[in-house]
């Protein structure tokens, strides 16, 4: 059985790959808040275990085995979140960290009993789909808005923002799941993006554009 650290890496690689980018150790380290050196060391261990591989041009990717392990973990995470909200009555905004601990602790037996108790939910409280036991998911490939280039367009899939006021503020401007966005300009030096949403143009700082996930059209 994989250790929690290995599992965290698998999960991170899976999520970053879902964004559709070539993944390097620098980016991976950034996501997990560790140095690029330790991310590189850990990646080598994953490769040794046959969970990941390094492919030219596409960077770090998961093997079929790694992908299955990652999806199993995501499944446990999302079921745990559902459990914390639906059964224990916690606020959906607070459950992410708790679920991060639970996902490494619960067995397949507990997991399937929780799922049954919850009535086989399709999504986590944040609206992300829960993969089935075979690791199949309805999730479409999405990427961060900040990764789009000038004149690329997409549809907002989700906004990974925990801060309510910002989420609502963006929503009143029409930036919510389902809205189309078109990138008109990208400022130099990794600056803000000019995006067109519902007939108006907005400058969005990087830190905000990184939280908006879009399906490319």
């Amino acid at each position: 059985m994989a250790t929690p650290i290995v599992e965290e890496y698998l999960e991170a690689i899976y999520k970053l790959k879902a964004a559709g980018k070539a993944l390097g150790t620098t980016e991976l380290g950034k996501e997990l808040k560790v140095s690029a050196a330790s991310a590189s060391e850990m990646t080598d261990r994953l490769v040794e275990k046959g969970l990941a591989e390094k492919v030219p041009d596409r960077g770090i990717t998961l093997t079929r085995k790694g992908q299955k392990a990652a999806l199993e973990l995501i499944r446990k995470h999302r079921i745990s979140e559902r459990f914390l909200v639906d059964v224990l009555g916690m606020d959906w905004k607070d459950v992410h960290d708790e679920a991060c601990r639970l996902e490494h602790a619960i067995s397949a037996e507990v997991e399937s009993r929780m799922e049954k108790l919850l009535g086989n939910p399709a999504t986590c409280p944040h609206g992300h789909p829960i993969p089935d036991r075979q690791g199949r998911t309805a999730e479409e490939p999405v990427r961060r808005l900040s990764g789009l280039k000038r004149n690329q367009a997409g549809t907002i899939a989700k906004i990974a923002e925990e801060q309510r006021s910002l989420l609502e503020y963006l929503a009143t401007l029409g930036m919510m799941p389902g809205s189309d966005v078109h990138v008109e300009q990208v400022a130099p030096f990794d600056g803000p993006l000019l995006v067109r949403v519902k007939g108006a143009t907005y400058a969005l700082g990087r830190e905000i554009a990184e939280k908006i996930w879009v399906k490319e059209r």
């Binding site: 309510r164 009143t172 401007l173 400022a187 600056g191 519902k198 143009t201 969005l204």
Partner: protein, 707 residues
């Protein structure tokens, strides 16, 4: 001149027959409309602890006095941001007879969102469809009659900058207000006065339908299941109404609670019977979430967007508008290839304008004062106070003091305000913010800060007021501190006059480079030290517009008036104090205590230290005084500074003069804009920095053999 919002609005209500609030998105011409209608008599008010302001003024329509409350421009009326909170509170406290919603015809769907929200709260709304001229240029035609029918309210097309349609708008609002009061008498009827109320606590949903034919729109319009949930809540709210519940309609309250509005949730939670209601709201929200798979709050926002979009599509036809000059300009200013050169040119132009025109005017005013007013004042003072010490001190105050205020105020402050208002209203400031955002983030600021920072090189005073374009106090404190470190034109005069011309231009350049490095270092340092982090940028990019000269003039005048009221007394008192020190001879006694710092640490003659104190009045005064005092102390040979100060000493002197405390006008404006505690901290910081850098420079220079 900031009044509390409550008292300002209540005073207005006492004087006016009707009170209307102006609400709308940012940059839809709301301020132009307000200014065109009211002229220059507006009063600015704000809520304690809030920086966003409300303007209040009155106008006349036939025999009626109409009070207008200009709310901050916002995209919605939630409690999520300060401007939205202030806009909503302004409406709730002011309880206007009618809310005039100003819509941008070029972006109707987004603008309708807030109008629908106003109607949802049960407020009586009359709409102004503004910028119809611009929409036509873009090939957008709006069926105003249909829009009016769909919304169930009067809609008046307007062009605020030209004043078109404004009288019709006011008349429509007046008849709506009359209809709501059930008041059918003709214009000029006194009965209207004081029969206050406007939006009352309850019973709005039914609405009045008097002679004006105005009625509140039929409320149900969102999805059927949502309306069913809302109806259930309205019934639950019914028995509670009138009992300490906020002044919105039952339907409005139900929607606000479903939207999880923090302010209303708390109000209701604390009201008697409120807990039970909140439980029902929770269940209702859960039903909506179960049906639509997203939070009830987001679902309602989505429904409102949907309705706004449907209405806009139904009433507008979009032709194939050609690309306008404004759009092309906009593309040019945001594209990195062309935008950065344009930005540099603009910054250079702003700087040159302040530097050249400001200097010219400053000199002109100075000599005019000395030739015309000064002799008269001196004669007057001597006639009253004789020729003693008192008279001499008095001449420092009104004469030197006012001249100083004049030399800074009108040439620099007024011209910069004008430039800033022009840049703001044209929409260019947003392009600038977009391009420089990344760079400014390193200093904990965002892109909008670059204009005031550059303007600081002309004069710090208007630059600090210019930091109002920043949103948080953290940003304003950082930006103001950096501005204070930017050598203004007066300090440049000392650098050039005492250093570059006497010792060599390289020395002058070195001072400029050093202060540039200090600005960068202080910015990066403050960003680390100050609590909080720079906010993420979400900013609408407005199309370029030719600003209306009238609006800019009014804006400039208000800001300038504010400046004069604050700065003039401080400059006057400060100069009197310095005058007393000088004329009584106390000044020479100060050179003793100053000696350890001046002679021991900075290696400057003590007399130079004295001039640094006086330079607080005006920085270039340091140089003049240095020559004057040197003549008194060392005799006629001292007319060139090199007689008693070596080049490295002059370097340290110019450096310290550049960095330490800003001049008295800057102190005044720092205190006013940021509060006196923050101002004192900034002043202390600059003194410490000046001493550290000055002393450091002295030892480095002597170490390399130049001292």
């Amino acid at each position: 001149m900031a009044l509390s919002c409550c008292s300002a609005v209540h005073e207005l209500r006492g004087q006016a027959d009707f009170v209307f609030a102006l609400a709308g998105n940012p940059n839809v011409g709301k301020s132009s409309m307000f200014n065109t209608l009211t002229g220059t008599g507006a009063v600015t008010a704000n809520y304690p602890g809030k920086t966003v302001e409300i303007n209040v003024a009155s106008t006349r329509l036939a025999e009626l006095t109409i009070g207008l409350v200009d709310l901050p421009g916002t995209y919605a009326l939630g409690a999520v941001s300060e401007d939205q909170w202030v806009a909503r509170q302004g409406i709730l406290d002011g309880s206007p007879d009618v809310v005039i919603a100003i819509l941008d015809a070029t972006n109707l769907a987004r603008n309708l969102y807030m109008l629908l929200q106003l109607q949802d709260m049960g407020l009586p709304v009359v709409a102004a469809l503004n910028l119809v001229d611009e929409a036509e240029k873009k090939g957008i035609q709006t069926d105003v009659g249909k829009l009016s029918a769909l919304l169930g309210i009067p809609v008046i097309p307007t062009v605020a900058t030209r004043g078109d349609g404004l009288e019709t708008l006011l008349s429509a609002a007046v008849s709506a207000a009359r209809a709501l009061r059930g008041d059918t008498c003709s214009a000029g009827c006194e009965g209207a006065r004081g029969s206050s109320g406007g939006v009352g606590a309850s019973g709005i949903a039914g609405g009045g339908s008097g002679s004006g034919g105005f009625r509140l729109p039929s409320p149900a319009r969102y999805g059927k299941d949502i309306e069913a949930v809302v109806d259930g809540l309205v019934r639950a709210i019914g028995p509670l109404q009138g009992r300490q519940l906020p002044a919105v309609s039952a339907r409005g309250l139900a929607l606000l609670l479903l939207e999880n509005d923090s302010q209303f949730t708390e109000l209701v939670g604390n009201a008697p019977g409120g807990r039970q209601l909140m439980d029902e709201v929770g269940q209702a929200a859960a039903r909506i979430q179960a049906a639509h798979g997203e939070e009830a709050a987001l679902r309602l926002i989505r429904e409102r967007h949907g309705l706004a979009g449907t209405i806009a599509d139904e009433v507008q036809v979009r032709g194939s508008g050609r690309e306008l000059l404004s759009q092309r300009l906009w593309r040019l200013t945001t594209s990195p290839v062309t935008g950065i050169p344009i930005l540099l040119l603009t910054l250079a132009a702003v700087f040159a304008f302040l530097f050249v025109v400001g200097n010219l005017l400053s000199g002109l005013f100075g000599s005019a004062w000395q030739a015309g007013v000064s002799p008269l004042l001196q004669w007057l003072i001597h006639a009253i106070a004789g020729n003693g010490v008192v008279a001499k001190i008095l001449t420092w105050g009104p004469d030197a003091g006012i001249q100083a205020a004049l030399a800074v105020g009108i040439p620099y402050v007024l011209t910069f305000y004008f430039l800033l208002a022009f840049l703001e209203d044209s929409g260019y400031l947003n392009s600038v913010a977009f391009l420089t955002d990344r760079l400014m983030h390193k200093f904990g600021l965002h892109g909008r800060a670059i204009i005031p920072l550059v303007a600081g090189a002309g004069c710090n005073v208007p630059a600090i007021i210019g930091t109002r374009v920043l949103t948080t106090m953290r940003e304003r404190v950082i930006a103001s501190t950096l501005i204070v470190l930017v050598p203004c034109s007066a300090r440049t005069a000392v650098i050039v006059g005492a250093l570059a011309s006497l010792v060599g231009w390289q020395w002058g350049v070195a001072v400029f480079l050093l202060s540039g490095l200090l600005v960068l270092g202080a910015g990066a340092g403050l960003n680390v030290v100050m609590p909080g982090e720079s906010s993420g940028l979400v900013m609408e990019m407005f199309p370029f517009r030719m600003p209306s000269l009238r609006t800019i003039a009014v804006k400039t005048w208000y800001r300038f008036k504010d400046f004069i009221f604050v700065a003039a007394p401080i400059v006057l008192v400060g100069s009197l104090g310095l005058g007393a020190l000088y004329e009584t001879g106390l000044i020479w006694k100060l050179s003793g205590p100053l000696a350890p710092v001046m002679e021991g640490w900075l290696g400057l003659p003590a007399v130079a230290g004295l001039t640094l104190i006086f330079a607080v009045l005006r920085k270039e005064l340091a140089l003049q005084l240095l020559v004057t005092l040197a003549l008194v102390r060392y005799g006629p040979h001292a007319s060139t500074l090199l007689y008693f100060m070596a080049p490295p000493q002059l370097f340290v002197y110019a450096l310290v003069n550049t960095i330490y405390i800003p001049c008295i006008a800057t102190i005044a404006v720092l205190g006013k804009e940021l509060g006196w505690k923050r101002a004192a901290a900034i002043i202390a910081f600059t003194i410490a920095l000046a001493l550290a850098v000055g002393g450091g420079a002295r030892f480095v220079l002597s170490a390399v053999g130049l001292g």
